[in-house]
Amino acid sequence: MPDRSPTAPPPSFVWTGRIVLTLLTVFSLLPVYVMLSSSLKPLRDVTGAFRWIPDHLTARPYVDIWRTIPLGRYFVNSIIVATAATGLSVLVATFAAYAVSRYRFRGKRVFTITVLSTQMFPGILFLLPLFLLYVGIGNTTGIALYGSRGGLILTYLTFSLPFSIWMLVGYFDSIPRGLDEAALVDGCGPLRALFRVIVPAALPGIVAVAIYAFMTAWSEVLFASVMTNDTTRTLAIGLRAYATETDVYWNQVMAASLVVSVPVVAGFLLLQRYLVAGLTAGAVK
């Protein structure tokens, strides 16, 4: 771990730092606190005037959430879709970024520019065409993309692909070429050089990209609302079903969001130590 400097920074810096970090913590957690306290209130208190301390505490919403909507199913769908999309996206992006970072070939410029420009597409522009494309593919080949998890996985993995490739090219570029060149000279194949040398060295970048890919798939709303049905609906849009025609179950929305976020935050906690391992930890010298 690269500590910034062997000499301690001046106290003024330390104190400014503490104040800034505290403010950021408050900013980050304030809505989380509101969520938590709302999830422990009866519905009528939630919509009443705001109180820092709830007047009546109840755990009821945490029981009801499972009955108001098929939360368990939505959660499983989301986990499957997001995990598969993340895994594939990272893998595909790693290959592509390796090619771009380490090889010189005709069409490289076209490729990188095309990939980047896809980040510019407004979702609105290609939602309907993509949907029609999926239905068409289904009719022609029998591969059901519309309404299936596979279709969503394909969509989301591609959504995160451009940025993942770009980010990884940046991280790969910053790994000294001497490392993989040495491996190649030692007789490793290029793929082995990639997985044995570059991937471990670029782990923080890969983890960052994976988190990004996961979150892209985890919270996408627009495409999911057209492309899923009752059995494949994901959490991101499923949660909206707590707002029904007659009632909005605010406390349950909050409770459900917290429940489904726990595994994700836990995953972050586990992964974050890889964010700080990586290159300088041993590979350079």
């Binding site: 009955r67 309907l128 007659t246 009632d247």
Partner: protein, 437 residues
Amino acid sequence: MSVRARTAIGAVIGATLLAVLPGCGGGTSTGDSGGNSHPKTLTYWASNQGASLEDDKAKLTPELQAFEKQTGITVKLEVVPWSDLLNRILGATSSGQGPDVLNIGNTWSASLQTTGALLPFDDQTFAKIGGKGRFQESALASTGASGKTPTAVPLYSLAYGLYYNKKMFADAGISKPPATWDELVQDGRRLTTGGRYGLAVEGANVSENVHHAFVFAKQHGADFFDASGNPTFTSPGAVEGVKQYVDFIARDKIAAAGNAEYDQNQSIQDFATGKAAMLLWQAAGPNLQKHGMKPDQYGVAPVPVQSGTPGPGQNIDSMVAGINMAVFKNSQNLDGALKFVQFMTSDAEQKKLNGAYGSIPPVKTAAQDPAFSNPELTVLRNTIATSAAPLPQVPKESQFEELVGGAIKDLLADAAAGRPVTTQSVQQRLAKAQQQM
């Protein structure tokens, strides 16, 4: 790029284009013509009417089982939340892959009618489900543009009523609910004291705004569309009507300024908790009770008019709210679909389902059932029968809702921020909306 890569990319593009373009790939399901090749199953998209999706499923499943017993047809049910319904219908319409039978908001009728994807209910088709005459006229009027063959049948009906808090009225010395708007404003002023308000409005809810504006405009002898379907948002009557509604916050101040940002049913909550003494709503009863208000604590009266009593023409006091049922033309079980529509609009099912959802049967004979004659539903039932009119049944209805409802939301926001709202400013705002059509 290498030649091979280029060929490969070309091949992928070619293949996928073939897949989307018609004629090459489109399987049978994208075709226009329906038939009866799958007589044993139906897919049904129900809209969310009950307290939750699961609640809807629980209410509908026994009925679907009864239908299966009767006809041998299995109905696959999916309850689609309102937030997704229109997009899902869009998907089904554009791709030809959708349900056989579905629920639609009745204000969408004319718009969906023009897509040509829904089965027209001509007299012959109506005969198959028991005839046109069984349905309430006002509900039938909201199944498609007038003069065209309807593409839906009414399933559940609703209308607006004036809900008032009996105790607050008594405390303020008001003996009966207002029958005209002047009375409502007067009563409202008396009731607006000490942090309580006379009226609660759902000011940021685009649809609610349009429903009220429509009634007010009608009462001023105006319509938002002329006979040939062109927008007339700036006619004096429409401007007057919109202003009268906005004035509840702007001039009369009988509704709280904060109401201008309500769009999550907060006005129901305000009424139920005694923060507001009156509320204009469709069948609010079950919801009020859920918020802890008892049926004897509130009264229901017809929505006020400018003068006289509610009736047809300028004394309309509600839009026809409700849900219609439609059949996709390319269903592979058309006969079964019609059987299912007939089943759902049968007297017995109408009583059960409308009873369960707190709505009024659009089927006349079913509406006579004593189950729909409690004080609240009697008012709503009479309104539907005598003094309700459908929102403009024009193909651009959704755009109208968006633009006019949005304009009113902005005007209410102006009023809430203390900016003056004048006839001129209302007219300007509506003129802008009209031009955007």
